[in-house]
Amino acid sequence: MNAVWRKYEKAQRVGRSPEGWPGREMTVSSRGMPRSARLWLAACAFAAAGAWLALGFAREVYRTLDLETLRPPPVLPPVVWRYSTPQAQRLRAFLERVGERVPAGSRVAFASRPTRADGEFYRFLWASYWLPGLVVMPETAAAGREVDYWIAFGRTLDRADLELLLTDEAGSLHRAAGSQEH
């Protein structure tokens, strides 16, 4: 590999800076394109890249502002929810109401309406983020495990072993029969 570098650089005379730092190297060459042309080409390259990235930056800032503030937030599937997505905020508001009724450390199963692209799984991820003081598990993991409470979002739970504690237009909170207070 050293031979490759030496061959590539054999047209250059390389020295060291007064500080003796190899990173600062002098290169002198009398061949090739005139220096003024090189400088112009380099300046054009920097300017073109700058203009492109500046436009890209402006576009992404505008797109973010548009999504977040300039128009009503779009309705999105759970897999691509943003923090401000209406359904995510609706879930958060529902969980704040529910969370007040559930003691810290309780084991909670979260169930939501099955949708495409693993919608219920991503809603579970958002729900567990907004209930950090609880042990939140998805409905699919609740089988065979001790569960103290059930939260249903966007669906109903008709189970004889559950006691309804709270219900509203978003969902419901149930206590499992025989659950122990934590």
Partner: protein, 445 residues
């Protein structure tokens, strides 16, 4: 309180790290870069403090974390008090004043800070694992392995290192609660550090002033463009992008103890932040030690020890709680190579990159540019590692392989993009400035 909490933790880390100034400072460097390196040292120290407190059964809170960090800082001060502190260079890098590139960088930093604090760019994985881990650690007053080992949390990457969630927890203790804007502001802090590292690279490689200002502007615009567009708020990917860029000047400097320890701390930061930071740390150490020649044996302790101190506990807890299953079980296969290659090209063409992501694929070309060669070697090795991971993961189908690439390559490319951009700018400036004298390049107004 939001801004105060984040800045308080950042300042505390930098102040703690500055106690090592006798061992960390280098002559003539950019003062911002010097304080970024102090911050890196402090951040690694904070993580080690959290690990020590957890191992001793002492609950985390603002007082215990501050006390442990102060103890580490005191030990660092005692270890380096006799060493002379070299003078830093001027903030303007030898030029009469800050330039237009610095102004563009500040504008982009402000944009990122506002978008992050307003929760307009919350990263999805902040919700799915980084943020929830941080909050769980905050509530548990320590690493919450009960949460990490729950069977339904397998997709939350329980095997990942815990520096970033620990940092979020520490910030929550200072803020009095898990304040999301305060957590998001670490994105702005990381971006600031990235820009400071970029300034030092441009100074260290002797780039002409106009090119340096232009490159700094490009770095700021491109990073902010993708960071805001792809919603990387609250993501540790900014830290991963910082590490190879901040290590670049160290790979060029003459061998000295300060560079050894700095490289070691950067490697430790990478290894403690994300799982792909482990190979990055190894590549940094290997390239650095290879360049040290006969002096490498004396450098090994400073280069390797910091990473060993963070990887050791991570490995121990990971094995104890069975979190590392599958990390090492891989077999290279070309079965889906075509699908992966097409997905990679499609992914680098995502709208948020505006085509700039392809620059990462050209990094190996920088091996022919002497000032960029060591950084390009590290980045090329990391690219090869990514390719190895994609080709060795047991995908059940072509669609699964494609999804795997699309779900993470845009961010993995972000780790190497700053090095790629600055590298090509350095190469372009060298090409354009042939037939110039060093006196002319160093003193242009």
């Amino acid at each position: 309180m939001t801004l105060v909490a984040t800045l308080a933790v950042a300042f505390a880390c930098a102040l703690a790290g500055s106690r090592l100034r006798g061992r960390l400072a280098a002559a003539g460097e950019d003062p911002l870069y010097r304080w970024v390196m102090f911050g890196v040292a402090g951040l690694v120290g904070l993580h080690l403090a959290e690990v020590a407190l957890y191992a001793l059964g002492i609950p985390w809170n603002a007082a215990t974390l501050a006390g442990a960090l102060a103890l580490l800082a005191m030990a660092a001060h005692l270890a380096s008090r006799r060493a002379a502190v070299p003078a830093a260079g001027p903030l303007t890098g030898g030029w009469p004043a800050l330039g237009w590139g610095d102004a563009v960088a500040l504008l982009c930093l402000a944009a990122v800070a506002v978008c992050a604090a307003r929760l307009w760019m919350v990263y999805a994985d902040f919700i799915f694992h980084w943020g929830i881990k941080g909050e769980k650690f905050f509530l548990a007053r320590g690493f919450d392995f009960e949460f990490l080992t729950q069977p339904w949390n397998g997709m939350r990457h329980p095997e990942y290192p815990n520096l970033f969630p620990g940092l979020l927890a520490a910030t929550a203790f200072v803020a009095g609660g898990f304040d999301e804007p305060a957590m998001m502001l670490w994105t702005a802090v990381s971006f600031f550090a990235l820009l400071a590292a970029g300034r030092e690279v441009l100074r260290a490689t002797g780039v002409s002033r106009p090119a340096a200002q232009a490159t700094l502007a490009l770095l700021a615009l491109g990073s902010a463009m993708f960071g805001i567009g792809y919603s990387l708020g609250g993501s540790p990917d900014w830290v991963m992008a910082l590490v190879p860029l901040a290590a670049w000047p160290l790979l060029l400097r003459p061998a000295d103890g300060a560079s050894d320890l700095r490289l070691g701390l950067l490697a430790a930061l990478a290894a403690a932040t994300k799982i792909e930071g482990l190979p990055l740390a190894a590549f940094l150490a290997a390239v650095y030690l290879a360049r040290r020649g006969r002096e490498r044996w004396r450098a090994i302790p400073a280069v390797v020890l910091p990473a060993a101190l963070v990887v050791g506990p991570w490995l121990a807890y990971g094995l104890h709680y069975h979190l590392l299953g599958g990390v090492g079980e891989r077999e290279l296969s070309l079965r889906f190579a075509g699908t992966i290659a097409r997905a990679a090209l499609d992914t680098l063409a995502v709208p948020q990159w505006h085509g700039a992501g392809f620059l990462v694929l050209l990094v190996p070309a920088l091996l022919f540019c002497r000032p960029a060669r060591p950084a390009a070697l590290v980045a090329s090795l990391q690219l090869l590692f990514y390719a190895y991971v994609y080709l060795s993961t047991p995908h059940p189908s072509a669609e699964a392989a494609e999804y795997f690439v699309r779900s993470n390559l845009p961010r993995l490319a972000f780790h190497l993009w700053p090095v790629a951009l600055v590298g090509f700018a350095v190469a372009l400036d060298r090409w354009a400035a042939r037939q110039s004298s060093p006196a002319g390049r160093a003193s242009d107004p």
